[in-house]
Amino acid sequence: MEIVFDHVSKKIGKNLVIDDMSFKVDSHKITGLKGINGSGKTMVMRLISGLIYASSGTVSIDGKVLGKDIAFPQSLGLLLENPSFINKYTGYDNLRMLADIRSTINEERIQEVMRIVGLEENGKKKYKKFSLGMKQRLGIAAAIMERPQIILLDEPTNALDTDGVEMVKDIINTEKERGATVVISCHDSETLETLSDEIIEIQSGKITRQYMPKPKFEENNYVI
């Protein structure tokens, strides 16, 4: 699915958080959002997800304008910063509760996703007893479980250990191979450059640079 920002600005109260932003995210590609805290990465994610709409300009998904033609992208998986679930439920129950809304996946798929994110051994543990890393893993599981066409991952490596970061990289690459359009934001430039087909740098709500990261072998040659 193609995502197009056309001269998008967004005001929250009196603050201009996104300033005349235009870019295109190609289908089946991984696009990285780079920028310091407060630069506007999360707002871009929220604009794509339909949780907020543009004050001016348009955000469109496959030609359909969000807030006008559609309220939300038709097939979306979303991980925002600090994912939140129901404390009294187990990780599995939380995923099942969310999956029940669309009823597009079965219990086996939920079990499979729990295994992919490394939570299969914590099936009976309540969410309130989850560590930060486990919460993050559950957030990632919720974002990918329904095999969505668009996956938005805001700081997916937050609170994860080295193994967790590798797991996230594997998941993102697998989702890309499946045909999903992935947008990620990450503090870690190295992880972002390794994963992304294209990187958009954002500063104070504006795009400052848009580029293709160098392929690995090219970088090695350069270093040598």
Partner: protein, 275 residues
Amino acid sequence: MKFIKLLYFDLKHGVFKSYYKYLFFLLLVSLAFWECHSTLSANDLNNAKFSDYLLYIYGGAKEYIPTPGVAFKLPYLWLLNHVLILFFVLNYMHKDLEGVGQQIIFRARSRNLWWISKCFCQFLSILFYYLLSWLEILCLCLISGVTISFENSTFMVDVMDFGEKLLPVTNLCLIAETTIYPLLFTLCLGFVQMCLSLFIKPIFSYIVSVAVCISSAYRINIFLIGNFSMALRSNTVISNGVNDLFGIFILLVLGSVSIIIGKIKFGKYNILNRE
């Protein structure tokens, strides 16, 4: 189908999992009942009926006419009933919107369905508070040996000091005055509060609700809609009371308009986490 699932989620998490709120509310209703019981006993009205207890708790107060030396008495049981219920239903929508509700709303792919589900949830939640409190008062009356009847007794004349202005009230009217009207008022103000909370912070919308209740107790005015919920200010109970039918009309219109404005506002509402 999606709406049923959204409503099921809201009822489960917004109504039935808030059992501690209901317990607290029922505790206060029992305190109100015992206060009423002791007042009636003090006035030697041993023939008081179930309807008198409902009137005492939900009936409000007669019109206050500012007079030197006469202090304004706040109908605190009437006020407490409304402000407590409105407080209990205040936060669910916003709490859900900042948490797992964000995952739910984009899966439902409709802001309208989500809003309507929240309105249904609020309606059922308020209704549930009332049903529980009526049931509790009924049980306490049965335990205390109070006659279960809606017949008009001398209670209002003697305790509320209405004297000659009191009109003969039919049983059906008394049932409506002590149950339907307070319920309609809480529902209406609940929807106004819910709608307002999309424009201003939820706590400020709650302050507006409390202000409407207190102002309604202080003076009679059609804009102070709390008057329509007070049996002791109704034109079926006193000769110069507020018009009940007009009250129903105003409450229904205001509640419906709030739901519609809320739906329009929520269609463009920024779903963000509170900073």
